[in-house]
């Protein structure tokens, strides 16, 4: 059998060889960045160089970057750390945003998968307590890109802060965090060819954050704990590569993805593609095959050596309809037949052939037989 084909880049991505090599070197650095002796200073220098390179890649100022153990922690830190009494999150946010505050209010999205800005404005106007609005830059399941700058403008008009989970957008669309309008931005390394276990929260300097993790006062008191040095170095290396390649890579992946979707529509006119009317990540396709459960599709594809997912990876153990598609108004049975195909730096045209060969022949279970 051919080697398996990986088409689940929105779950995680293979690490760029250059980033892996940089981490291999960083793991050899003996020293705690907080120690003042030469070993400690060596570790600190490696860390601060990496911070500088990451900041440059995303258009941030240095002190604005707080390293965390990943985007989940960054999202938690943003939502809990600002201490706002009111939290508004879009209905399509990742669990690490939606699940943080039990009292969070949901901002609806339209059928297109784009957040309803008029609803956001109404909600902000209806209750003048200091609020935090959380809106992702690109959705992990549909790839639909959200109007973050407009949302930030509205939020600020009502004295609210805007947090943006930009995990799926980094390296996939042009991203300049300073120009985004958001007060806080969450980033992850392992979706872009960096390592898992490292993320960052970009924090504009007017925002004060209460730390989630108390302790040694690292990261200017905003996140305690000895820094994940190899992860930080790997993150910076991966971000530089991903950002530099982004324009060409988006074009390349868009061609692959569009070819895939054209073939899907040609082979199975009953298939439903989500979010295609909206601005969308070039690498993502969310497709439903009515009448065939997503789990069945995923298993059939797996047997053919093609790895895709039936939703977000963290919840993929549970079989349940996607909350994202539900929020877009998709009926539950249609949402339950949707899979996500996401491409990345190792994806090739042959992968599309492999996918189609396994997927196009899927049929409804026949009761007559």
């Amino acid at each position: 059998m051919n080697p398996p084909v990986y088409m689940d880049y929105n779950a995680t991505a293979p690490v760029f060889p250059a980033a892996a090599a940089a981490m291999g070197e960083a793991l050899k650095i003996a020293g705690n960045p907080s120690s003042v002796h030469r070993y400690g200073r060596g570790a600190r220098k490696a860390m601060e160089d990496a911070r500088e390179r990451l900041a440059a890649a995303i258009g941030a100022q240095l002190p604005a970057i707080v390293f965390t153990s990943g985007a989940t922690e960054a999202n938690n830190l943003a939502l809990l750390g600002t201490g706002r009494s009111r939290i508004l999150v879009s209905a399509i946010e990742h669990d690490s945003v939606r699940g943080v505050s039990p009292t969070a209010e949901l901002v609806p999205v339209q059928r297109s998968g784009v957040v309803d800005l008029a609803a956001l404005e109404r909600m902000l106007g209806a209750d003048r307590r200091p609020a935090l609005v959380s809106l992702m830059l690109a959705n992990n399941e549909t790839g639909v890109v959200q109007p973050v700058a407009e949302a930030a403008e509205i939020a600020h008009r009502y004295g609210a802060l805007l947090h943006c989970d930009a995990v799926q957008a980094l390296g996939r669309i042009a991203l300049d965090v300073s120009a985004l309008g958001a007060d806080l931005v969450s980033l992850s390394a392992h979706k872009i060819g960096g390592p898992a276990g490292i993320g960052a929260l970009y924090v504009k300097d007017h925002v004060t954050l209460k730390p989630l993790l108390a302790g040694g006062g690292q990261e200017r008191g905003r996140r305690a704990g000895t820094e994940n040095l190899s992860g930080i170095v790997g993150f910076a290396a991966a971000a530089e590569i991903a950002v530099a390649r982004q324009p060409d890579e988006a074009e390349r992946l868009r061609a692959l993805r569009d070819a895939l979707e054209a073939r899907i529509q040609a082979e199975r006119p009953d298939a439903v593609l989500f979010g295609i009317e909206s601005p969308r990540l070039a690498n993502t396709s969310c497709v439903a095959l009515p009448g065939i459960a997503a789990e069945r599709q995923v298993i059939a594809l797996d047997l053919a050596g093609v790895a895709v997912s039936a939703g977000a990876a963290c919840s993929s153990g549970k079989v349940r309809a996607s909350a994202v598609l539900g929020a877009m108004g998709a009926p539950a049975d249609l949402a339950a037949s949707a899979i996500r195909v996401s491409l990345g730096w190792q994806s090739r045209a042959e992968d599309i052939d492999r996918f189609m060969a396994a997927w196009a022949g899927l049929r409804k279970p026949s009761l007559a037989a």
């Binding site: 060596g42 989940t72 699940g99 000895t226």
Partner: protein, 436 residues
């Protein structure tokens, strides 16, 4: 250190910005001396063992799946590696793998254990007990809880750094939910009587959390025999990677706690976030190596530590050991040098990468709160040095360190009028200094 590790360490000629042991170069006086600066700060962090790095590398590139992807072999392969690591971590403390929650490090583990347990239980029991000598992240977590209405008792320690069991027992009230006492102190290396504390906690129906960041892999630990309910574990203190740790959470009887990081519900809801497979593998491998080599390595380090202690104290008077001598990590020595000035001493031994306190606070000039808690006078607390010995420390390095310390202290004392007066028999404390 076994032959394999030695070979690995030797073959790895660039551990950071200085060599860590095993190599020697010609000194100016024609004698053999080790590469400098000599790393003697193993309680701040440890170099990642080359064998650990080897184990981690394939999981960055070839085996890169998300361990939570349940639908394809990329995910399964990563999950298998994560679960093997979980078994390796559990094994070194006598736990069940299902009792291990992976975290980003001991700071997160301590925050999760302390805040998590107290937030879950505070409606019924809102009191916790800890020691004034705990790591900063334990004390800071406790202070945060105080702002949330939790009552915290910060117990003093005895002059040797150990908790007084009578005092501890007397501090427990019907409202006490948690006792958090570290296994081994990061500055003075003293090992608390874990089994006694565990027994007391079990009798009183109080959860026992121990920050074992400095103890795991250095001394034998057994959560069953010691009746430990929660234990914090660090990767980078045991030759594993930074950014990785674990929290042991007892299942029977079950310890309930509130999560600190919410989201995808990984780690049975106790800690959300994609697990970093290579870091998990690194922590697991670090535990497996430490478990195998601990008995011999502890003996070796203890001998080196005693060689350092005796080598210094045989030639220098007025040197004081901070913390109990017997109940102490094999790789820790904390000494105060009378009649020298702290900064001068650090400058005098700059070939030795040592610390004057914990790494987190090492940039500050405040004397160590741990030493102050032992009743060490401020002057002596200012001249304390923590020598941290570890897997790559050699006898040549220790001998060189002895020379450096003896030379520097002797030179500083020669310049010190206080030392001169002390030599003449004047009791300095009896002098009334004129105010200016």
């Amino acid at each position: 250190m076994n032959a394999e590790a030695k070979k690995a360490a030797n073959g790895n000629d660039k551990l950071g910005n200085g060599k860590l042991g095993n190599g020697t170069e010609r000194g100016g006086a024609g004698r053999n001396r080790p590469h400098t600066p000599i790393y003697l700060d193993y309680q701040a962090t440890t170099p990642t063992d080359p064998r650990v790095v080897e184990a981690m590398l394939p999981y960055f590139t070839e085996k890169f799946g998300n361990p939570h992807s349940r639908n394809h072999p990329f995910g399964w392969e990563a999950e298998e590696a994560v679960e093997k690591a979980r078994e390796q971590v559990a094994a070194i403390i006598g736990a069940d793998p299902r009792e291990i929650v992976f975290t980003s490090g001991a700071t997160e583990s301590n925050n999760l254990a302390i805040k998590g347990v107290m937030r879950f239980h505070k409606d019924r029991k809102n009191h916790m007990i800890t020691l004034v000598t705990e790591h900063k992240c334990v004390l800071d977590s406790a202070r945060h809880l105080e702002m949330e209405g939790v009552e915290v008792t910060y117990l003093p320690v005895q002059q040797n750094g150990l908790v007084d069991m009578t005092v501890l027992a007397a501090a427990i009230t019907p409202k006490t939910a948690l006792i958090s006492i570290m296994a081994a102190n990061n500055e003075i290396g003293v090992i608390q009587p874990l089994a006694e504390i565990g027994k007391l906690c079990r009798t009183k129906g109080v959860y026992f959390h121990t920050d074992a960041a400095q103890a795991v892999g250095k001394i034998p630990l057994d959560v069953e025999a010691m009746h430990i309910d929660l234990m914090s574990i660090s990767g980078h203190k045991i030759y594993g990677p930074k950014g990785m740790g674990a929290l042991y959470v007892r299942r029977k009887p079950r310890v309930r706690l509130e999560a600190l990081i919410h989201g995808g519900g990984q780690e049975r809801g106790m800690r959300s976030g994609t697990l970093p497979t290579p870091l998990c593998v690194g922590l697991g491998e670090a535990c497996a190596i430490a478990m195998k080599e601990m008995p011999a390595e502890a003996e070796r380090l203890k001998a080196l530590r005693e060689r350092l202690y005796e080598g210094i104290t045989r030639r220098l008077p007025e040197v004081f050991l901070n913390g109990d001598h017997e109940n102490r990590l094999p790789g820790n020595l904390n000494l105060s040098f009378a009649y020298v000035e702290g900064e001068g001493l650090m400058m005098g031994i700059k070939d030795l990468s040592v610390s004057s306190g914990s790494a987190c606070t090492s940039a500050s000039l405040e004397p160590s709160y741990v030493l102050r808690a032992l009743g060490v006078e401020e002057e002596l607390a200012h001249t304390s040095i923590r020598f941290g010995l570890g897997r790559f420390t050699t006898e040549e390095e220790i001998d060189y360190a002895i020379e450096q310390v003896v030379e520097a202290v002797s030179r500083l004392r020669e310049l010190s009028p206080l030392w001169e007066m002390a030599q003449e028999g004047i009791d300095i404390k009896s002098i009334k200094w004129a105010e200016h």
